[in-house]
């Protein structure tokens, strides 16, 4: 694993956090307690109105909790000045919220400027972040309306990272993009997170997105009550109850295979047979199964990279795929 660039993530701890709005019989969030480990992506998933966004916004105090404590890296956030506190937390929202009258460089550089960074340092930081999120350097001079939705959300992520926060809050960040762009942004984001290793709270209502993005998933009931809080593999293997199972829906075993990278599977030596379908080691067990079904072959060759000239490093057959799924289930 590469060393994290910039400030690494800090642990977030919620203890009995409750939000009650005046005039409402039931609390919006009721006594949530959870530990979000440093450097991990924790996804809050649940139906609309279950309080997941409210829970997230209490962490950066856009919503003040009625009772309970929230600590980040051991510091009680309720004792901090809210504005100072938010400067240490990146915030990405579904609607992106780029300022239309500011160029991309000024959107990204806004908080560094407020924090009193020098011009040259801000310029260098903007260039670094644009590269990190995969945008050309000359986009710095553009206005938000000159970018596509997917590009705008990359800028949104870059802006959230600008002052190098230890924690990022992301509220359905890829919810408004088309499926292809979303998939792309998700992959980019996972790559990015491997570099920056922030502590990330990610809110979504899409369970498949939660499976893909989360190191851990908290499945929430109404009032943000935690139904199950575990790794994606463990939740798929043993949903706590029918409510959690209803999120997994049909095809739970297939979803489990989609989490399993071939690089984590013990491969068989490559047979000398010609003309077998080939798949890269970066792909998942589900991709391998899909290829077997599509090609009508119960064996595939695994290569070290994409492309035709990649080296074959082993093979995989149908029985091994099924075994891998079962093995994962018994050994999360």
């Amino acid at each position: 694993m590469p060393e994290p660039t910039g400030r690494p993530g800090e642990t977030i701890e919620l203890t009995d956090v409750t939000k009650r709005y005046p005039g409402q019989a039931e609390p919006a969030v009721e006594a949530v307690s959870m530990v979000i480990p440093a450097g991990e992506v924790v996804v809050l998933v649940g139906p609309s109105g279950c309080g997941k966004t409210t829970t997230m916004k209490m962490i950066n105090r856009l919503i003040e909790p009625t009772s309970g404590t929230i600590t980040i890296g051991g510091t009680d956030v309720l004792t901090l000045d809210p504005d100072q506190h938010r400067r240490d937390i990146g915030y990405v929202i579904q609607q992106i919220g780029l300022f239309p009258h500011k160029r991309i460089e000024d959107n990204i550089g806004l908080m560094p400027k407020v924090l009193g960074w020098s011009r040259s340092r801000i310029r260098a930081r903007v260039a670094e972040l644009l590269e990190l999120v995969g945008l050309p350097a000359d986009y710095a001079r553009r206005y938000p309306r000159e970018l596509s939705g997917g590009q705008q959300q990359r800028v949104g992520v870059a802006r959230a990272l600008a002052a190098d926060p230890s924690v990022m809050l992301m509220d359905e960040p890829f919810g408004a993009t088309d499926p292809i762009t979303r998939d792309h942004l998700q992959n980019e984001f996972l790559r990015l997170q491997r570099e920056v290793r922030k502590t990330i709270v990610f809110v979504t209502h899409d369970f498949d997105e939660a499976l893909k993005m989360g190191d851990r998933i908290a499945v929430l009931r109404p009032r943000s009550v935690i139904a199950q809080y575990d790794t994606p593999e463990a939740i798929l293997a043993a949903p706590a109850d029918d409510y959690v199972a209803s999120f997994i829906g049909a095809g739970g075993q297939l979803k489990k295979l989609a989490l399993l990278r071939l690089r984590d599977v013990e491969l068989a030596p490559a047979p000398r047979a010609e003309g077998l379908p080939r798949i890269a080691v970066e792909a998942t067990a589900r991709d391998a199964l899909d290829l077997m079904l599509g090609e009508g072959s119960d064996v595939v060759l695994v290569t070290d990279d994409f492309g035709d000239d990649a080296t074959v490093i082993g093979s995989l057959d149908l029985r091994m795929v099924m075994g891998a799924a079962a093995g994962e289930a018994g050994n999360p």
């Binding site: 950066n60 100072q84 919220g97 802006r159 002052a163």
Partner: protein, 258 residues
């Protein structure tokens, strides 16, 4: 016709600095100059009696135009200085009562006929430029006030939430996000106020406040159409010119990237 089909302009050029808009911008001043030229030719062709000659001459016209412009500028500056901060304060307080009271007062200022307001204030306070300024400002505050409130309240709440979420203070959000984005709406209000003031300023002459109203009312009371037409046309030309300046301000001061 074999005129080439013009390609659709990219978003950048379509934003209002393209050449066709420039040409269009020059129409108004050209018409104003043409109107004034006609006025000059027409008065030159008239045989002026001594009263007319004393009023329709370069020196008198020049000093009255200057007074008129001064009066307008002072009033507009005061209007902005009062209405913009007040509108911001009311928007930020999110107070319903404040909103109703402020808009009510603004409406009241505008609902009273300006002649009535000026004469009433002269009776209550005294005659003179100061009173005229108060009356004209009271009359012009409403459009700027209302547009400031509408402009700030019209800023997408997503943007203010994003700004708050990244750690900007309430005041910083106002100055970096809300006010810049409200500028086009506020400027539209200022333009209305400016024209309103230019066009109402002749009434200042009723209470010895100076301006082009002096010549206008002299012409009317002494039954000298040459005088009243001359000054009437001058007021109209000035109002059109002020509106044109407002248009320029709207074009050049609006935030870029929108």
């Amino acid at each position: 016709m074999t005129a080439p089909i013009q390609a659709r302009r990219p978003a950048r050029a379509a934003r209002g600095t393209g050449r066709p808009r420039w040409a269009g911008l020059l129409v108004r001043p050209a018409l104003i100059v043409a109107g004034l030229l006609v006025l000059w030719l027409w008065t030159r062709g008239q045989r002026l009696d001594s009263i007319e000659a004393r009023n329709v001459n370069g020196e008198v016209i020049g000093s009255q135009v200057l007074e008129h412009v001064e009066l307008t500028l002072i009033c507009t500056a005061l209007t902005i200085a009062i209405a913009v901060p007040l509108g911001v304060a009311v928007s930020l307080s999110r107070s319903r009562v404040g909103r109703v009271v402020v808009l009510g007062l603004g409406n009241l200022g505008q609902a009273i006929p300006s002649v009535g307001l000026i004469v009433l204030l002269a009776l209550v306070i005294s005659i003179g430029v100061g009173t005229a300024v108060i009356a004209l400002v009271a009359y012009a505050v409403l459009p700027v006030l209302r547009n400031t409130m509408v402009g700030i309240e019209g800023v997408d709440p997503v943007l203010t939430e994003a700004a708050r979420g990244m750690g900007l203070s309430r005041l910083a959000v106002l100055f970096t996000v809300e006010l810049p984005l409200a500028v086009p709406v506020i400027l539209a209000g200022v333009r209305t106020a400016l024209v309103l003031t230019v066009a109402s300023a002749p009434l200042a002459a009723l209470i010895d406040g100076g301006g082009l109203g002096e010549g206008l009312f002299t012409g009317l009371s002494l039954n000298r159409p040459v005088i009243s037409v001359t000054f009437g046309v001058l007021v109209a030309a000035l109002a059109l010119f002020a509106d044109w300046l407002g248009l320029l301000a709207e074009m050049f001061l609006r935030p870029k990237g929108m």
